[in-house]
């Protein structure tokens, strides 16, 4: 339960070892670079932006090639590929790929070019198909569209609005070009909007005829071809087929390159790592012969790293404590069980300086509440077994994923316990099945009690657990006050509230109101009643007097105090919020019973049983999924809002070490030992 202590490590070494030391640090991945030195005459920063961009571009180019490969030859992935994590490759493999990096970069470029070629070929095939389409109406014409003239006559093709008949055209000609010797109009084809026609007339009439027709919507075709439409179509089709074949060949070429995928992935990672390294290199102050690197390192490994570096290279390593005003990055360190809940704390916010890591205390409440909300032994078994198997089968999954699955594994175990306590096994499946098939109903006994029969009892217990949870939060606040030597705060904000709240609870217990809810009467000895009243009065008075202690104006101080006392309603709503423990538990159980009930209404024969099983599987999977979600969300809420609200703010900065940040594969790391 702690935030890992950080130290500052500063390494000063000769430039000839720069590459080796940086690579070593990067592969260890324990240092967050953070420089406190400014540039001066001797120490200057190197401009690496250009080279860094070069590496980034190379990585992006290879990534793009990999994306293209994925389109043409998708990598076969199993359902669980997300859990498999990055591939692990040996250092030798990594070296081999490094040596071939120029070659691989060339292949990446080739893939990119081939993809462009493929797109062009497909576009060309598409254009040809379009041409064939626009040619189709002219197929009935047995001369080329381009034909213009013979010795005396002239030919021109064209289109007119749909519905124009040959007779109408002759009318137009007679009307608008009466001086001409006439023309021969040949309608090639027509569709709804257009009539395709060829016109032959005497050379000297051509202008007048076309003019006349144009006034009625005649237009020359947009595209003309040298050969007859028939022959042209055959040519175009052949060409389109050729283009398609070319495109298929290009596609095949790209697919053939898919066997280099793994190497490409490794080389993409290699360029990424190099880019990171050059980014760090750009921040280092360097003199003519030496360089300095400085940053945060977990205290636990600082000495080992220092020793290792000094034994291997000519360098000076200095490990020192942090200054008072520094805000170091945060790593959480917890026991193996609680460490699984670090992700939950992280999603709220890491502790800032001076706060404690709440993970360990929270982890027990987390698992406890989660189980109570799901509260079905069979569901618990499913969750625990599935998570257990996944964690065991996929050892290389990412650390965050592993933690989440382990978290659910523990929550599953807790759910089993609560299920047994409350007698929930797939809701009431045992009752239903035994009644349906044997005639006598057998109810598995609940180790504690059945919530559906005694909801008030469980409600009271839920609120009790809530009070314990909240008091724990307040106690941690008290601990923090004492640790920081703020004894006044400890007394006013913690002790007084404890007095008031405990007093009020003790006053509530023997009251009629409580008796009617709990259906039992609690009689406290007289001195305790007096003590309760005393505690409550002193607590309330103290809060009114002391809460506004930062204020000099006595009236304002009292007003602030009274306002703080109003927080008692906040406590009430916080405690009532824990009623969700009961409500969500009931929801799981009752909806499971609804599913069972639906199944049991079916007739008692083979088909009925098959459908019963189907309903059982589908219904319970859905119920499990939605209640798992509910339990997760509401457990988080109880921790974040009710519990953390008492003592924790968060807002710390996560630790981002300088390390090999890869996307596809990991090279076997050196360890410190």
């Amino acid at each position: 339960m702690a935030v890992l202590k950080m130290q500052r490590i500063t390494i000063c070494a000769l430039k000839k070892n720069r590459k080796a030391i940086l690579e070593k640090l990067q592969s260890l991945g324990v240092l967050e670079v953070n420089h406190i030195l400014d540039e001066d005459e001797d120490f200057r920063k190197m401009d690496t932006a250009e080279r860094k961009t070069g590496f980034e571009k190379a990585a992006a180019a290879v990534d793009q090639a990999l994306d293209i490969l994925e389109q043409y030859a998708p990598e076969k992935k199993s359902m669980f590929s997300a859990l498999e994590g990055k591939k692990l490759i040996s250092a030798d493999e990594g070296m081999k790929v490094q040596d071939e990096r120029r070659d691989l970069l060339r292949i990446a470029r080739q893939i990119y070019d081939l993809d462009r070629e493929h797109a062009e070929q497909q576009a060309a095939a598409g254009r040809l198909t379009n041409s064939i389409e626009s040619l189709t109406p002219w197929l009935g014409l047995d001369v080329p569209l381009k034909t213009t003239e013979t010795e005396r006559s002239v030919f021109f093709p064209g289109v007119m609005p749909g519905g124009t008949t040959a007779g109408r055209i002759y009318e137009i000609l007679e009307e608008k070009a009466p001086d001409t010797a006439g023309a021969d109009v040949h309608i090639v084809s027509q569709d709804q909007s257009t009539v395709y026609l060829g016109v032959v007339c005497l050379k000297e009439d051509a202008g007048a005829v076309e003019e006349a027709l144009r006034s009625e919507g005649f237009a020359r075709p947009a595209q003309v071809w040298d050969e007859t439409p028939e022959a042209e179509k055959a040519d175009l089709e052949a060409e389109a087929a050729y283009m398609r074949k070319q495109a298929a060949e290009t596609e095949e070429k790209i697919r053939a390159l898919a066997k280099r995928r793994e190497e490409l992935q490794i080389v993409a990672d290699y360029y990424r790592v190099r880019a990171d390294k050059y980014e760090v290199l750009g921040e280092l102050p360097q003199s003519e012969r030496a360089f300095v690197i400085s940053g945060y390192i977990p205290a636990a490994v600082a000495d080992k790293v220092a020793e290792k570096l000094m034994s291997k290279y000519d360098c000076m390593v200095d490990v020192e404590e942090l200054k008072e005003d520094e805000e170091p990055p945060v790593i959480l360190k917890n026991n193996p069980f609680s460490a699984n809940m670090e992700g939950v704390v992280e999603s709220y916010g890491l502790p800032v300086k001076g706060e404690i890591d709440p993970t360990t205390i929270m982890s027990f409440f987390y698992v406890f509440f989660f189980g109570m909300m799901l509260s079905d032994a069979a569901y618990g078994v499913i969750v625990a077994v599935v998570c257990g198997i996944l964690v065991w089968k996929f050892p290389r999954m990412s650390a965050g994923m592993r933690k989440s699955l382990k978290l659910f594994f523990w929550c599953g175990l807790s759910t089993i316990v609560w299920g047994v306590l409350f007698g929930g096994y797939f809701g009431n499946i045992v009752d239903i099945v035994t009644e349906k098939f044997t005639g006598t109903k057998i109810t598995p006994p609940a180790l504690w009690f059945i919530p559906l029969n005694e909801p008030m009892k469980l409600l009271l217990y839920s609120l009790l657990f809530g009070v314990i949870h909240l008091f724990t939060g307040l106690a941690i606040k008290g601990y923090l006050c004492i640790k920081d030597r703020k004894y006044m705060d400890f007394f006013c904000d913690v002790v007084l509230w404890f007095m008031l709240l405990i007093g009020l609870i003790l006053m509530l217990l023997p009251s009629e109101l409580f008796a009617s809810i709990a259906q039992m009467e609690i009689v406290l000895p007289g001195w305790l009643n007096t003590l309760a009243k005393g505690l409550a009065v002193i607590g309330a008075a103290g809060i009114v007097l002391m809460s506004g202690r930062g204020n000099k104006n006595p009236a304002l101080r009292l007003a602030l105090g009274a306002y703080d006392l109003y927080n008692i309603t906040g406590w009430l709503s916080d405690v009532l919020s824990y009623s969700r423990l009961l409500a969500l538990g009931l929801a799981t159980g009752v909806i499971a019973s609804v599913i069972n009930q639906m199944g049991s209404m079916l007739p008692n024969n083979v088909i009925g049983i098959i459908f019963f099983i189907l309903i059982f599987i589908v219904g319970h999977s859905m119920n499990l999924a939605i209640n798992l979600l509910g339990a997760y969300v509401h457990t988080n809420r109880l921790q974040f809002v009710e519990f953390f609200g008492k003592f924790y703010e968060g807002g710390g900065r996560p630790f981002h070490p300088f390390r090999e940040n890869t996307k596809y594969a990991e090279i076997k790391e050196e360890t410190l030992s």
Partner: protein, 158 residues
């Protein structure tokens, strides 16, 4: 007139399921529209936005829970209708109102909050934990209503 008792009782079950179910359908629908928008841009966020989309769906389940308990209470399930007086029937109807009305309105409000939370996931996927919390805050009131409806229905003697 005592035959009307059972009608009121059944009406109670209907109100619980009807209103809260409608609310959840609207809420999940609102959130679903936002979720679809995110997935068109970035399909890898599917799982996260789906989880947030589901959050306003619980009110419908709570309504179902109360409806089911009411049905088994008045004997509609498993035959043998209970002999309810008009007063008892109306009591059951009243007991079903909280989860019906609060379920309807809170699910719609939660749907809008979920849509906004999906916006958080779209821009900052690492803030998923916080994004999930905002819709969960709305749900508290549906849970409180469920609790009162449940305690009331199970407290009424038939």
């Amino acid at each position: 007139m005592s035959e009307l008792g059972i009608v009121y009782g059944l009406l109670g079950a209907a109100v619980a399921v009807l209103l809260s179910g409608t609310g959840s359908a609207i809420g999940v629908g609102i959130a679903g529209q936002a979720a679809s928008g995110v997935v068109t841009e970035d399909p890898s966020k599917f799982a996260k936005v789906l989880i947030i989309q589901l959050l306003p769906g619980t009110q419908g389940l709570y309504g179902l829970l109360i409806g089911f308990i009411t049905l088994s209470k008045i004997g509609v399930l498993g035959g043998g209708l209970a002999d309810l007086s008009v007063q008892t029937g109306l009591l059951i109807l009243a007991a079903c109102l909280p989860i019906g009305v609060v379920g309807l309105l809170s699910a719609i409000a939660q749907g809008k909050t979920a849509a906004a939370a999906i916006g958080i996931v779209a821009k900052k996927p690492d803030q998923f934990g916080k994004a999930m919390l905002f819709p969960a805050m709305v749900e508290t009131y549906a849970i409180l209503a469920l609790l009162i409806s449940f305690l009331a229905v199970s407290g009424i003697q038939v």
